[in-house]
Symmetry: C2
Subunit: 176 residues, 2 copies
């Protein structure tokens, strides 16, 4: 995590350019709330399915790391995941049936370690680029141009979306 004194500030962070700092401020807060939402969960709770077609909280946590890794590759290496990387991250990226089958039985630390490793790589990668890099554009969804700032916004936007679901699953799970 970045400086906790700055948790509620969208501001500069030492070692990063201004816009990258602001992006990291938002990613950092999103991750803080994710970690808070799962802090006390057991293996059984991380594997819990609300209904047969649901994603478990564990699978959603691994999804965050997988999405972040995929956008590292997309924006820093301008490529898709290769077969070897898909073997590692595919189930977490896809979720659904493959996720339910392959992501289970892990304690919270397993997921936290993956999240931290990928996030630390993001911290290192972002030190090597500047604000100009954030505004590079590529064709993306709906045949529209997206800049790297948007793609990284989407990384934390997706995490917040699923964190909302994690909170809902957790509330339902604890009330049953």
């Amino acid at each position: 995590m970045l400086d906790m004194d700055k948790l509620l500030l969208i501001t500069d962070h030492s070692g990063y350019t201004p816009q990258i700092s602001r992006l990291l401020s938002m990613m950092n807060y999103a991750r803080f709330t994710t970690l808070e939402a799962v802090s006390d969960l057991s293996v059984e709770q991380l594997d819990f399915l609300l209904v047969a077609q649901s994603n478990s909280i564990g699978a959603l946590l691994l999804h965050f790391a997988a999405v972040e890794y995929a956008y590292q590759i997309a924006t820093f290496e301008q490529r898709d995941l290769n077969d070897e990387e898909m073997a590692v991250w595919g189930p977490a990226l896809m979720l659904g049936e493959e996720g339910r089958e392959k992501i289970k039985g892990n304690p919270l630390d397993y997921y936290l370690e993956k999240l931290e490793t990928v996030r630390n790589r993001t911290f290192e990668l972002f030190k090597t680029v500047n604000d100009e890099w954030l505004y590079r554009e590529e064709e993306f969804w709906y045949n529209k141009q997206a800049n790297y700032y948007f793609m990284w916004f989407h990384v934390f936007e997706d995490e917040i979306n699923h964190r909302g679901q994690i909170r809902m699953i957790s509330k339902r799970m604890k009330s049953t």
Copy 2:
């Protein structure tokens, strides 16, 4: 909505300073996905409760307008909602039992109109301030300082969180 050609760009918008433009870019995309998630819902679907203690999709939509209104008041007038405003927005802000009791029976257009009215006011208000304003700080959660940029980040962050829940409710509702 802002310029749809810029939907996937975190970038400048005419009439706004650079950082306010970036904030609006993110708010705009979040709202686009919200509208997409609810585009075809009937009154019955907007009122649907997954379980007795759930929030309906309609209540969550009104919550987005209420939260945005509350932060307009907090950051542009430096005050809390007064009694008259709480009579209007209280149930949507609080959700839960009060929300379930008072927010129901409305067609989609009812919610869309509230969302648009409040958002248009945000657009007007943001024209009157600049980037420096975004960095004003006040004591906020956890006895920490938050700047206005963070508070407005939280407005769309909260919307994305509940949009994730709307997607989940919608999927479950349509499969039952």
